[in-house]
Structure formats: structure tokens, C-alpha cells
């Protein structure tokens, strides 16, 4: 199968959906020149009615996308930074996400929000490195975070077709990653986790940019005779409980490897689900390996300390197995 980069996969997905459905439009800051490259070529191919450079008015253009969606469009909104979700927060979680329910199920609000997840390179510091997906899923907003080019293409296409608001987190650290992506048309449905590597001794539930790290760790652990299963939820909400629980029930041990803040973070949710539904199978305490609860510091040694790392994962896995 041909190999393309994660970013190309996203970009291809977006263009394919725009060809497929004339109601798909793109909004965001600098999307016409395309800082990251995701929306490059769209102005040329689809013309100015399909792509809009916005002022620095995130709450405003987020709300505008909601209204356009209610009136039949399928806006794709790109945010330059993850933290911009905070500026638009009311329009996201209190409007776009809630309106359909509050209206008693009238209409649909098919908006896709494209958010650069952090990790592009070091040193983006405290206001450009957030991973706010726990905040969104807490408020009921559908969210996905693909970890391979194939998943990126399939999930973005599915998100654009979904008749609800969906946030797609694209980890900056993965944008350059190459991988196989089918040439023929496909989508990956929301709500399906994937076992990225099977194993027996321990389940590692890894999210987004940590999936490749977990795979490398599993490789390393395999050398030491530890067989780790790596499960990638892919879709953060809806979450595929079954695939995760099946893995944990098999291995009896689990490390939740997630790069969002710890308290009330995504790993907390995974831990709660497992503690409720697979408690009987657990042979060791659940372990969370997450980001620390501080803004990401700028300086490289500090930054490394607060982010979850492969080395720590390997250590944790060893410790967990040693406890038997």
C-alpha cells in the first residue's frame, strides 16, 4: 500500500469530503495560506466561497459555524492552537454541543473542529501545549485523536460526515509520520478502538501521540520477556469500552498512558470504567501515566519532566509485572 504522511492524509480527507459534498466549507485563521499545510490548495481548487480566513475572533467564528451548520452547511473549523478552544469555550460546549438536545432534537449541527494537539516541537510552553480533550468529552462533545495516517484519514472523513459536532485532534508530533493509507475510499467509524499490538501480560491504553511511544515501549518490553498489549481508543468519545475491557480482562494489568492533565483527565475516565467494569479481572492496581498538572514549562528539561514518556512507561510496566 502507498505510504503518505499524517498531514497529507488529513489534507486528502478534507479535500475528498469537499468534493463529495458542496456544503463542506472551511473556516479559521490563515487557512487560505495554510500555516500548517492542512488546508493548502483548497482556495485554488474550491474557490473563495468554500474557505474563509477569519479575524482573531474564535468565539465569533465558532458560533458562526454553529449557525451555518444549523442552516445546512458542514463547516470544518481549524484552530491554530489548542488553547483557542478556551477562548471559544462557551460557543463550543454550551452552544454547539448543547443546542440540539435543548431544542428537543431539532436539526443537526455537523461541525468538525480541527485542533492541533500539542507536541509539535519542544518549547511551545504554557499556553500552546494543552490537550483539552478531557474538557470536551466531559461536556459530551464527540472527539477523536488518530495516531496513524490511516486512522487520520478515515476518522477525519467520518467526522466530517457525522451529523454532530466532532473535534479532531491532530497531534503535531505525528504530522510528519508516514504510514500506509489505502487509495480507495474508506472511513473509520467513531467509537472503535484498535488493538495496535496484541499481548498477554499487560494492557497499555495509549492515547494519540503516545501510541507510537507505547508501541516502541512494548517492543522493548518484549525483549525483556514482557508481552504488552497496546490499545488505541482512537475515538475518545464515543469510547469503545468493549475493546478496552476485553484487553484488561485478558491481561489483568493496565497502564493508562495519556498526555492530558492527570486530575479528571482522560486516564481518570479510563481508570473509572475499568474499576467499575473489569474489577474482578484486575490482578494489580490500575496505573495512570499522564501529564503533570502544570502548564507545560518551556525549558526542555522541565518539559520532559512533566510529560509522560516512553522511559517511564517501560519502568512502570516492569514494576507492575514485578509486583505479581
Amino acid at each position: 500500500m502507498r505510504e503518505i504522511r499524517y498531514l497529507e492524509a488529513l489534507s486528502e480527507a478534507l479535500r475528498e469530503e469537499m468534493r463529495r459534498d458542496p456544503n463542506v466549507i472551511v473556516l479559521g485563521e490563515d487557512v487560505r495560506v495554510s500555516m500548517r499545510g492542512l488546508t493548502k490548495g483548497i482556495l485554488q481548487e474550491f474557490g473563495p466561497d468554500r474557505i474563509y480566513d477569519t479575524p482573531i475572533s474564535e468565539a465569533g467564528f465558532t458560533g458562526l459555524a454553529t449557525g451555518a451548520a444549523m442552516a445546512g452547511m458542514r463547516p470544518v473549523v481549524e484552530y491554530q492552537i489548542n488553547a483557542l478552544l478556551f477562548v471559544a469555550f462557551d460557543q463550543l460546549v454550551d452552544q454547539a454541543q448543547k443546542l440540539r438536545y435543548m431544542m428537543g432534537g431539532q436539526g443537526t449541527i455537523p461541525v468538525t473542529y480541527l485542533v492541533p494537539a500539542s507536541g509539535a516541537r519542544r518549547g511551545l510552553a504554557g499556553q500552546h501545549s494543552d490537550h483539552p480533550y478531557p474538557l470536551l468529552v466531559h461536556m459530551g462533545m464527540k472527539a477523536v485523536m488518530p495516531s496513524t495516517p490511516r486512522d487520520a484519514k478515515g476518522l477525519l472523513k467520518a467526522a466530517i460526515r457525522e451529523d454532530d459536532p466532532v473535534v479532531v485532534f491532530a497531534p503535531a508530533a505525528l504530522l510528519a509520520m508516514k504510514g500506509p493509507v489505502p487509495e480507495e475510499e474508506f472511513t473509520i467509524p467513531l467509537g472503535r478502538a484498535e488493538v495496535k499490538r496484541p499481548g498477554d501480560d499487560l494492557s497499555i491504553i495509549a492515547v494519540g501521540p503516545l501510541v507510537p511511544e507505547a508501541l516502541k515501549a512494548a517492543e522493548q518490553l518484549a525483549q525483556e520477556g514482557i508481552s504488552a498489549e497496546v490499545v488505541d481508543p482512537r475515538s475518545l468519545l464515543p469510547l469503545d469500552h468493549e475493546t478496552i475491557l476485553t484487553s484488561v480482562r485478558k491481561t489483568g494489568r493496565v497502564i493508562l498512558f495519556d498526555d492530558s492533565n492527570r486530575t479528571c483527565g482522560y486516564a481518570a475516565e479510563l481508570a473509572a470504567v475499568i474499576a467499575e467494569e473489569a474489577w474482578e479481572s484486575l490482578r494489580a492496581p490500575i496505573r495512570r501515566l499522564t501529564r503533570a498538572d502544570v502548564p507545560v514549562p518551556f525549558s526542555p528539561p522541565l518539559e520532559s519532566y512533566v510529560l509522560p514518556s516512553r522511559d517511564r512507561l517501560v519502568e512502570e510496566a516492569r514494576a507492575l509485572l514485578a509486583k505479581v
Binding site: I25, D49, Y52, T54, P55, S57, A59, G60, F61, T62, G63, L64, A65, T66, G67, A68, A69, M70, A71, G72, M73, P75, D90, Q91, D94, Q95, L99, R100, Y101, M102, M103, G104, G105, Q106, G107, T108, I109, P110, G140, K142, E162, D163, D164, L190, G191, L237, P238, L239, H241
Partner: protein, 330 residues
């Protein structure tokens, strides 16, 4: 646009309907038949009436916490509104929304809204979609003098202006945001002047005069419909009652009795039918009887309607559902 008699009587009918709807609501709130909080539109009837009369059925409005008037004026069904206010399954939102969220997308009513100012960008989006669909649909965003100080309203006005969106921003300046007098919350005399900051026309309008409102709205809507871009109308009006139904009970005072009395003299639901009679147009008593009958029926309909089934509470959040979504609490 010269107005014919039917239209002129229609204005009274709408204003009277809003007034009496709200008076019924107050009664029902006080009798605990309507739960939650309602914000009555009493005193401002000429604004919604004049503006919505300038709209087509396919035009869109976004409304506010004080939305009943806008919704009735845009053609909302009083029966389904009343049922919604009582939390009944036959209500506009199947009981999910209540007063602050009534919507009817089929009538272009994109919802009341519990968050001040939040509807403004939503109206812009509906306007953009209309433009892209090559329709000449217009969107109206209602908000109050208080809403004028919300950041997202500023952003929305700028977006509409730069993209020449077919939007009319209707600021209902009733002088207060709850207890906060706009004279202390803005250092400008005329909120309409803020339009200049976005390069769009802004116009102060007598919000107690339905004909003046209608004329100004007509012009702004026409401007929008023909692609000339947005307008800001500042309709100066007043609410005769408390911010919400329960205000009285709290003993909060921020307006003088004289001020209220002065504005009451200009009550459009009194002065307008008087003018109609003077002109020999229609029979106000007939309109009033008709409105009363409609509201009797609305209240009866709402009362007779059933509450939704508790188990339905998790339906309708998503258009596309998945197992386990939304999560139950238990």
C-alpha cells in the same frame, strides 16, 4: 412599503398576543405550573412585532433569555410554546428546553438562548449559509443593551461587516441589564453609534413605536437582502416588569416609580390600538377576544399534554448515536 389595514391590525394582534401571553405566564409561574425562570417581554412588544413583520418565513432569528415575544412575532405556535414552558412532551423542545431555549427551526427560530449575546454569531452563520445557498434569506440577531458589552457580539458584528453578511443586529435597549443601567455600563449616549466601529450603519429607533420599528427594520432587512450588508438597530424600549418573574418577591429596586410610569405612558399595547381606533382601522376588541381565545386554548393544550417519559431524557443529544452514549449517571 405602505402598510395595508390587515397589516396594521396584525401589528396590534401580535403585540396584544405577546402581552397577554406574558401575563398568563406570570400567573402560571406564580401558581407553580411553570417551573424554572421566565423573563417577560412586557413593554417591548413593539420591537419584536415591528422587526418580525419585516421578515419572511424563511428568514432566521436568534433570540435571547427574553425570547417569548420574538418567537410569537416570528410565528411561533402559542400552544407548543406554552406546553414547552410547562415542560410537556408536546412542547416545542419536547420539554428539554423550557423558556430559555424555545426553538422552531422550521420557522427560522434558531432558539432563545440562556447566554447573553451567544446568538449573535449563530445568526451570522445562518446568514452565511443563506448566502452560499444563493438564497436572499436574512438573519436577525436580537440582544439587549447588556448584550452589547459581550465580547462575542463585538466579534459577530465585525464578522458580519467584513463579509457583508445579510444580518440585522437588533439591540433592544431597555435601559437595564437586570439592575445595571446602561448609562453606567457604557460611556456612550447611543449604542447605535457602535456600528461605526465595524463600518456598518447604526440607527437609533423608537422601540415603543411599532411603525417606526417596522420602517427601520424594513430598511435594514432590505439592505441585507440585497447584499449591502449588516445594520445595527438600537431600539429604545423599556420593560415594565421585573427582570424575571420572581424579581418582585426579592425586594430589589433599581428604577424609580416615576421612570416606570413615564415609560408606561408610551405602552404600545395601549397607545397603538388607540391610534388604530382614531384612524378607524379595525376593532381592537375583536383582536383582544381572538387573542384571549387563542391563549385559553394554548393553556388548555399545555395543561392537557403529558410530561415526557423520564427514560427519554437521554435521547436527542446526538443525531448519530452509539452504544453507551450519552453516559447515564448510574
Amino acid at each position: 412599503m405602505a402598510l395595508d389595514k390587515t397589516q396594521l391590525i396584525g401589528f396590534y394582534r401580535t403585540m396584544r398576543l405577546i402581552r397577554r401571553f406574558e401575563e398568563r405566564v406570570v400567573e402560571l409561574v406564580n401558581r407553580d405550573e411553570i417551573p424554572g425562570v421566565t423573563h417577560e417581554y412586557v413593554g417591548q412588544e413593539a420591537v419584536a412585532t415591528g422587526v418580525c413583520a419585516a421578515l419572511r418565513p424563511d428568514d432566521v432569528i436568534t433570540s435571547t433569555h427574553r425570547g417569548h415575544g420574538h418567537i410569537l412575532a416570528k410565528g411561533g405556535d402559542p400552544r407548543r410554546m406554552m406546553a414547552e414552558l410547562m415542560g410537556k412532551a408536546s412542547g416545542y423542545n419536547r420539554g428539554r428546553g423550557g423558556s430559555m431555549h424555545i426553538a422552531d427551526l422550521s420557522l427560522g427560530i434558531y432558539g432563545a438562548n440562556g447566554i447573553v449575546g451567544a446568538g449573535a454569531p449563530i445568526a451570522c452563520g445562518a446568514a452565511l449559509a443563506g448566502k452560499l445557498a444563493r438564497s436572499d434569506r436574512v438573519a436577525v440577531s436580537f440582544f439587549g443593551d447588556g448584550g452589547m458589552n459581550q465580547g462575542v457580539v463585538h466579534e459577530a458584528m465585525n464578522l458580519a461587516a467584513i463579509w457583508r453578511l445579510p444580518v440585522v443586529f437588533v439591540c433592544e435597549n431597555n435601559g437595564y441589564a437586570i439592575s445595571a443601567s446602561i448609562s453606567q455600563m457604557a460611556a456612550v449616549e447611543r449604542l447605535a453609534d457602535r456600528a461605526a466601529a465595524y463600518g456598518m450603519p447604526g440607527k437609533p429607533v423608537d422601540g415603543m413605536d411599532v411603525l417606526a420599528v417596522h420602517a427601520a427594520a424594513g430598511e435594514a432587512v432590505e439592505r441585507a437582502r440585497t447584499g449591502a450588508g449588516p445594520t445595527l438597530l438600537e431600539c429604545r424600549t423599556y420593560r415594565f416588569v421585573g427582570h424575571f418573574t420572581a424579581e418582585k418577591a426579592r425586594g430589589i429596586k433599581y428604577r424609580s416609580d416615576e421612570e416606570i410610569a413615564r415609560w408606561r405612558e408610551r405602552d404600545p399595547v395601549v397607545t397603538y390600538p388607540a391610534w388604530l381606533s382614531q384612524q378607524g382601522i379595525g376593532d381592537p376588541a375583536l383582536v383582544e377576544a381572538e387573542v384571549e381565545a387563542l391563549l385559553d386554548e394554548a393553556v388548555a393544550f399545555a395543561r392537557q399534554s403529558a410530561f415526557p417519559e423520564a427514560e427519554e431524557a437521554l435521547d436527542g443529544m446526538y443525531a448519530v448515536t452509539y452504544p453507551g452514549l450519552p453516559a447515564r449517571g448510574f
